[in-house]
Amino acid sequence: MNFQLIGVNHKTAPVEIRERLDIPVASLPDALKRLVQHAGVDEGLILCTCNRVEVLAKTRNGSADLRAFMRDYFRVEPSTYESHLYEFSERAAIRHLFRVTASLDSMVVGEPQILGQVKEAYATARTAGAIHSHLDHLLTRAFAVAKRVRTETNIGASAVSVASVAVELAKKIFGSLNGKHVYLVGAGKMSELAARHLLAHGAASIFVANRTHERAVVLAEKFHGEAILFEQLYDTCDRADIVITSTGAPHAIFRREHGELFLTRRKNRPMFFIDIAVPRDVDPEMNKMDGIFVYDIDDLQQAASSHLADRTQEADRAEQIINVEVDRFHDHLQTLTVVPTILSLQDQLENIRKAEISRARARLGSLSPDQELAIEALTHGIVNKIMHTPITTLKSAARTSEPTTVIDVVRRIFNLTERDEAQTAPQRPDSPEESEN
């Protein structure tokens, strides 16, 4: 079915590389348009989170040059990132997508956010008109598989999210979180989650600053915290012991001079910066300052890796589910390649049958309803018997790697004409709106 996938993730590329390949949400529709205009690409989806940048495409012949797309789109020297790229096609691409959506490829395996992020990418691509039937079918299946993994394994139940890793680190610095103040810079989902964890472990209060002040107010109200105008960020930040940043700013918003200012005002009481933004919000230089600790998303991964072992078992079970589902979907896709031929064959024979009946009818004269039925049954029986062997042969050929020869033979023997391409598209089993629940 010619699925191709290319990308980088947290395992193959450090954050410095990933942030260069970051595509802001606002530019995604444009990127998608350029993707589907790229040679050989029919449909496309771009998944861009802080841990990965991936391009998924349904291509005409399975050999579209997606590297060329990346070279064209990102004005980044290819040598800096190309060694970090992975590429999958067909079955491997399906498998990768299923694993990503089911959170098996996540930095923290089992974390729940990735499913939402894939759904968002899907919605964006649909709105941009980059997704039609094939990717639609694939993505819908991926969501269903993710759901299955989540319900049939414990992978999500004990999920040590980035947020709880952050809590653990905070405890390594502060001991108890009682009376500690938390500052959210940027009102994203992830920082909200981290804040909830910190509060649950005793943190005293929350400040929220966001470029869109209204969102800060909404989030602050949720935690009975205090919303602060973004302009006052630097004047108020020293009140916080723990700062969680997740803004979409293109450059670091906390730099050395800010750190020095905060430390002076705080009489050198330590500060913990959790930077979950890509590109990063906190200048890594700040980590060198006495009393300031900076952890970015990559560091959190390292800290989380100790938990991975505990969940290997659940992850293994999840992998098995993925394997089964990939097989099933792949078989399904393969049969799709013979579906047009089968339909043509059925059409062809049905037409012959109808034509022969109408010719014979003139000679037979008037028939009783019973006789009508008998003729219908007789002709149907003959046609079905004739069709049976070709259809089963086609279906079993579909599961092999080279179904085209058989398709070709059947078409020639029965003199079948090409059917319209659109009719080969799979019917969507359920709408995406349903699967979101």
């Binding site: 680190l169 405890k171 390594k172 610095i173 502060f174 001991g175 108890s176 705080r266 009489k267 050198n268 009481r269 330590p270 980590n287 060198k288 006495d290 009393g291 600790f293 952890y295 560091d299 390292q302 800290a303 100790s306």
Partner: protein
Amino acid sequence: MPILWLRVALGFYALGLLSALLALTRQSGLLRIALPAMSVGMVFNFVSLAEAVIPLGPVALTSVHNAESLLALLVMAAFMIVYFIYGTTSPGLVIFPLVFVLTFAAATRQQPFLFTSPVLGGWLIAHIALIFAGYAALFLSFTASVLYLIQERRLKSKKLGGVMSRLPALQQIDEIGYRSLLFGFPFMTLGLIAGMVVAQATFGHLDFLDPKILLSLLMWAVYMVMLFTRWNAGWRGRRAAYLATGAFVAALIAWSANYFSAIHKVVQS
């Protein structure tokens, strides 16, 4: 007899140190042996000291080996106080080896009394006990500094696994260091005053140019500056750790003055 009890104590301290070090390399329950062993060692250490002091009076503490034994006991006591307040055994990393070395030195060689004063037995014992309590606190503070620097490096370099993962939280280590500094300061101050009273009574005057007195005053000054900067400028963390290390080195130098000062050598000369 005291020397026998001290050697028994040494045996237990050795067992404690060994199991603590082994617990570091293999993540086993060996720490459960270390604490009881060290506690039993403390009891024998105390018995040994008591037996030495009871027949002779406080002047017994002025022999080098008894002094070392007393310092070992006080340092262990400081460790135990921290353990009961904070529930951490991490300072043992630095403290157990020191206690072992002190006890080992005290249990293997017997030395003559360094000092005797015809007068003021009460002042003398006060001087020794207070100064040593101050030393113990200062050493604990130094230990905390070492642990702080280790933990800080771990947090900064983001390598959090391994044998050091039982270290207490950074702020807790900082607090242990600061509190033991605060705690040690009055002891050190009063101990120095008591020492001056004894010296004055013995020699009739105070020779401020004597290296022992000079260095002791210098150490006290460093100590005070350290507390002051911490209070006032909020020096903490890495800089405070360096300062505590500095104060500890000053204390070591003041201690080493015993070997070339006239005051503590009065008997031998």
